[in-house]
Symmetry: C2
Subunit: 375 residues, 2 copies
């Protein structure tokens, strides 16, 4: 897998590219909606296509527990199981094992943990995580790594990074599917030098793409930006750069500015289910009583299905009554917001106007904050 | 409003008709999906159209409490509020007041009750029920009546029926919207003579259609059929006959046989959310572990979106994981089952083969019961 860079903004690190998988072309920079359990919560595969999604993320940890990777494999793989014929990236399960499960032991061999669903005991190793992803048949697999929370001691960050590198080598060794790309994950917490060492070692092993892991886990925005600013220029130009689990619209804009090609985050979908909706002027809480009689759409000018058809008053009513359609309409709007944002950034990079676009993006938010006093 | 009867099966009471409202033509016999809170739970207006729904039901009681009829009126009425441009029938709230709310007083003036949501105190009278439905702007409104549970004493059934008739006269008197039809509701519990008296009095008042209320409320199938067999032939030929809140696929088939034109029931949608799916051979519980690895659709040959795209294994996985998409896929399948059944019955009546169709309908069920031992 190679990233074909088709445009570059010379005033910053932003780049516009194209990735090819067995399931199609991905225009980058790209946002990947999160489809944890073989479904992006609240929307159908057709709706995802209408929204312009070209790649989604599946969670290895969740799918391993429910319904089980073997079952998905027997039924023809994840694409077929969930009726999605475009690209899929699977994470390695590392993040969830360290954030959701109860860890029993982290050893050189792998991680012994208890399921967050029923407490059952499992072991995931670099080999099994790679195996599971091959069985799921995703287009891009991720190395099994230890995700650091923040803060951790420098000593722990180093040891953990070094183990993650040894695990990455085992993943590479165990990985045998030529149709599936394998990405390495750069660890090292907020320490730029540890991150650089990690990248160096991952480059020696060699992967089809490189990701920044363990960011947006509690550190400050400045710390996150410092790592990104230091690392992104050192990552291979001709390979995709993936910022894992990030983030807000602002994070995407800054990531793109610094040269990130791929993002994923539960924020648009999870916030939708909690009634938090994104607009150009910032976010709104739809349950706010000032929307109770509001005949306008969530965002004037928005071309999403929800805004084309329904008023804020109706969307609010559905949310207050916990109606299923409400979660769907909110999710469609938020994903549309994220995916449209990415489309605009791609266009701006191509035109060489990314930094102007970025300025306008921030002005839209300030303007609204000034006019209405924010939320 | 008049029912244009376009075909009749002379071997039974079944008839094929056409109803015209300001929002389109309704081919009868018709099943109306229930859209309690300005949404048919789990599906969008577009999905309802794709399923072939031409009329849905809205619940006056629920909409009165949430979001409030005035608000819906201010936003252009129920059609516009919920984005549904085909026909809507609203019930009068009578059934819900008597089944969901805590009744404080039933008086000649109306009913004082407490909301099932927050305990707030309300009064609904024939006049307010009529007013609310005019504000909602449904195509067909129902008279406010007292819904009897089963059993009630004959004395109570008579008194209640007589009050419902007096209320019906007040609804008729208060109703002033020429674009909206008003239907009378025949009460009298399981007593055919009381039902006949009720019908007679309603005919004197005069309505655009007549409904059988308080059936399928606990009485036996035989008692329900007895009332239907006695009353349906006495109901006006040129006006729609509506069997309220009924029922199973078998109930629909028997209702059509006896000359019912309109049905509504929460069964296809509510059961879908509980994982009970309808098939020609009977119903299945999707959570059953025998479906865990089943690559077949819910029903082979079914043309619904769910069956065209997804396996039972996937639908079961979504249901077990309580994924939003699962409720939707189940609802689409069940509504498709009901609406397809109605379409087939309309076709059979037109062809003069309704009773043969009915025999096949029952044979499909028996066949399955013999083969698999049922559910």
């Amino acid at each position: 897998m190679e990233l074909q860079v088709i445009a570059r903004d010379h005033a910053c690190g932003a780049r516009r590219g194209r990735l090819k998988t067995a399931h199609g072309i991905i225009e980058t920079p790209v946002f990947m909606p999160v489809g944890t359990l073989a479904t992006v919560k609240g929307v159908s595969p057709e709706e995802l296509k209408e929204l312009g999604a070209t790649i989604i993320l599946g969670n290895t940890y969740h799918l391993y527990l429910r319904p089980g990777a073997e079952l998905v494999g027997q039924l023809g793989g994840l694409h077929r199981f969930m009726g999605w014929d475009r690209s899929i990236l699977t994470d390695s399960g590392g993040f969830q094992v360290f954030s959701l499960a109860r860890i029993n032991k982290v050893e050189e061999g792998g991680v012994v943990f208890q399921s967050h669903i029923d407490g059952s005991r499992h072991m995931i190793s670099p080999e099994t995580a790679t195996e599971i992803q091959m069985v799921l048949g995703s287009d891009i697999a991720m190395c099994f790594d230890e995700c650091n929370s923040y803060p951790v001691s420098r000593k722990y960050a180093r040891e953990s990074m070094e183990r993650s590198v040894r695990w990455a080598a085992r993943c590479r060794h165990h990985h045998t599917d030529p149709q599936q790309a394998l990405f390495g994950i750069i660890q090292g917490s907020v320490h730029v030098d540890l991150r650089e060492t990690c990248l160096e070692r991952l480059l020696e092993i060699g992967f089809e793409g490189y990701a920044l892991g363990s960011l947006s886990v509690g550190e400050s925005k400045e710390q996150m930006l410092e790592v990104m600013e230091a690392l992104l220029p050192q990552m291979p130009v001709s390979q995709p750069r993936y910022l894992m689990g990030v983030g807000t619209p602002e994070d995407l804009v800054e990531g793109v500015r610094l040269g990130v090609d791929m993002f994923d985050c539960v924020m648009p979908t999870r916030n939708a289910r909690n009634g938090m909706l994104f607009t150009r002027g910032g976010s709104i809480q739809i349950k706010n009583s000032r929307f109770a009689q509001d005949p306008e759409p969530i965002e004037n000018g928005c071309t999403c299905y929800t805004c084309q058809r329904f008023s804020k008053a109706y969307v609010r009513h559905l949310f207050m009554a916990r109606e299923l359609l409400g979660y769907r309409l909110n999710t469609i709007h938020n994903l549309h917001h994220y995916l449209t944002l990415m489309g605009e950034m791609r266009e701006a990079i191509q035109k060489g106007t990314f930094l102007q676009w970025r300025q306008q993006f921030y002005e839209n938010r300030n303007l609204r904050a000034e006019n209405s006093g924010g939320n």
